[in-house]
């Protein structure tokens, strides 16, 4: 199965940009999270030894995805966690709700690490729905 994200060329000079897609919001959120994780490590080397649940509510889908990805960056530093399996459920109530079930492990020498993500940025940030959902995200590395 092809991966649901790719790095983009020509968007930023010193950092990294990716585009993620999904047939629905759940898949979009999952693929975006895998993209952020894959910049930081080869996710094949991240075993699903631990799990973590995240629940977020925001006024719109754009902000919800931004906060979700920022949470992954936070957990990488604060709890030393990287995730290789993501199950996301996005639903609309008054605002937009996310429940994510994440599986991964504490950073360890067995992991093939990549580039540290400092922050999710709003630079050229975009979430849109065409035939499928797509998100363009620039990360500060």
């Amino acid at each position: 199965m092809p991966k649901g994200w790719k790095l983009l060329e020509g968007v930023v000079m010193a950092d990294l940009a990716f585009e993620a897609n999904g047939k629905d919001l759940n898949t979009l959120f999952e693929n975006s999270a895998l993209a952020v994780g894959s910049i930081m490590a080869d996710l094949k080397s991240v075993t699903p030894a631990l799990s973590k649940d995240i629940s977020l509510e925001k006024e719109d889908v754009e902000r919800l995805l931004y906060e979700f990805l920022s949470e992954l960056v936070y957990l990488k530093d604060a709890e030393q966690l990287l995730f290789s399996e993501i199950k996301a459920t996005v639903s609309k109530n008054n605002g937009w709700l996310l429940h994510a079930h994440l599986k991964g492990d504490k950073i360890n020498p067995k992991m093939r690490l990549g580039t540290d993500v400092k922050a999710i940025t709003l630079h050229k940030y975009e979430v849109k729905k065409g035939k499928a959902w797509t998100a363009r995200v620039v990360v500060d590395v």
Binding site: M13, D77, L122
Partner: protein, 468 residues
């Protein structure tokens, strides 16, 4: 840069290029780029877009500036310098960068390249163990919340109190290693949680710890070199890193706060990453106090790393002595006094990928890990850039292109053949930092020299590198 855009610049001098306020609706001051014609031509178009957006921000003084190592960033370009009226102007996290007080430390040693080169592998391997780097790296200093708040308030001074440095170190750090006004109550628990384990860690991206030799025949200012204690063939150590996840989280937190605050203060900006608040507003003041906490954490971070470097050197070379030449920030905002219209005026100077270079002050310029670095000194003329100069070589190739052009393992082998021993936790990250992805640092330093802003003192060549 495309030809149509190039034609819109007026050449002010050999190395200063100006766009007038008529270039874009809303510009309050002209935009100026420093560089030779070839440097200007090689800059990406987005630098112009971003710099002229900065020129539209409320309270900006004289010019929106981009140094010769400039390239596009978020909101502000990297290499950007902008000064604002503290009463009528704004403060913007985008003008400082996510990595608050990302900066450089240069140490000089009593060792020569002939003494160190034969033991470079042993030394670099030990440093790699003692100075954690890469994704999620954690340092050896264990802090509780109260101690972390002390670090926020006291910066490098906290480290010296703990035996991780000397008074001499403090005397050779910008602001003596402590930015005043830091208020930990303006920092979120999230930022504290991200940073509390990270004191003494390098991070990744373009951060590094490098063993360098002062190039023979390349001391350009003998008097300044003598005063700084720099000699040909001497071994130096350069450290490039910042406030780690702590600073990144503060920047992210306040970007969100400012996005909301702009509605209240009726400010509109041309890019969401230019989110800002009036400097005198509660939000602006809170960020300034939180930013100072991150800046102090960064000074402390580099100081703890220096302690580890000293330990590692003494393990390999029993009588090694390492003294700080200087430590300087290149991502920060500071209240400083500069001349505006011939009169002294207090300004809030934002430097994002730009180094303070007051007259006589050492300036540390990190080039690419393959080509080398520079020690410069600030001049009196630096007043025209609000006492600021370049901070590095500046990228000309994206990370994805660099990775496609060479593998990290091949680059490591190639560099070793050329006498540079590199140790990394991430080969993909290493490839991203290949020398060909950067401008020629010598040309950039020369441009700032021709401009009279900063003068080269000595060139340094790498012999060992730890890449995060």
């Amino acid at each position: 840069m495309n030809d149509e855009l190039l034609r819109k610049f007026t050449r002010v001098s050999d190395v200063i290029w100006e766009l007038p306020v008529s270039f874009k609706k809303g510009m309050l001051v002209p935009a100026r780029i420093y560089g030779t014609e070839s440097i200007l031509k090689d800059m990406d178009d987005t630098v112009v877009e971003q710099l002229t957006n900065v020129a539209c921000l409320p309270g900006i003084q004289k010019h929106a500036l981009c140094m010769a190592d400039g390239h596009s960033g978020y909101g502000f370009p990297i290499g950007g310098v902008a000064a604002f009226d503290p009463e009528k102007g704004i403060i913007s996290p985008g003008g400082i960068g996510f990595d608050i007080n990302c900066g450089m430390r240069l140490l000089k040693t009593n060792l020569t390249v002939e003494e160190v080169q034969p033991k470079i592998k042993e030394l670099v391997d030990l440093l790699f163990k003692m100075v954690p780097s890469g994704v999620g790296g954690q340092g050896f200093v264990t802090l509780n919340s109260a101690q972390m708040k002390d670090v926020m308030r006291l910066g490098a001074k906290w480290c010296v109190g703990r035996g991780y440095g000397t008074e001499h170190d403090l005397e050779h750090i910008e602001e003596n290693g402590v930015i005043p006004g830091a208020d930990p109550s303006k920092v979120t628990q999230k930022a504290l949680g991200r940073g509390i384990h990270q004191l003494g860690t390098l991070g990744s991206g373009n951060h590094y710890l490098e063993i360098q030799a002062v190039r023979k025949g390349e001391i350009f200012d003998k008097a300044a070199a003598k005063e700084m204690g720099i000699k040909e063939g001497q071994i130096c150590v350069m450290v490039h890193c910042g406030s780690r996840g702590f600073g990144h989280q503060i920047a992210s937190d306040y970007l969100g706060i400012f996005t909301e605050a702009m509605k209240k203060h009726k400010i509109t900006v041309k890019d969401p990453e230019l989110a800002c608040a009036p400097f005198t507003s509660p939000e602006g003041q809170d960020y300034f106090k939180a930013m100072a906490c991150a800046a102090n954490m960064a000074f402390a971070n580099r100081q703890v790393i220096v302690h580890q470097i000293r330990e590692a050197f003494r393990h390999v070379f029993k009588d090694a002595k390492l003294e700080t030449v200087y430590d300087v920030a290149h991502n920060i905002a500071k209240l400083e006094t500069h001349l505006v219209g011939g009169k002294k005026k207090e300004l809030l100077v934002h430097r994002k990928g730009a180094t303070r270079c007051f007259k006589g002050q050492p300036v540390i310029i990190g080039g690419s890990m393959e080509t080398g670095s520079y020690l410069l000194v600030g001049t009196e003329k630096s007043g025209e850039t609000f006492g600021s100069t370049m901070h590095g070589a500046g990228r000309t190739m994206s990370r994805t292109k660099a990775k496609a052009a060479i593998s990290g393992k091949k680059l490591q082998k190639d560099m070793e053949k050329r006498g540079i021993y590199v140790k990394t936790g991430s080969f993909s990250g290493l490839a991203e930092e290949a020398g060909f992805a950067y401008k020629d640092v010598s040309e950039v330093a020369k441009a700032m020299d021709i401009a009279g802003i900063s003068k080269p003192v000595a060139a340094l060549r790498p012999i060992g590198n730890i890449k995060g």
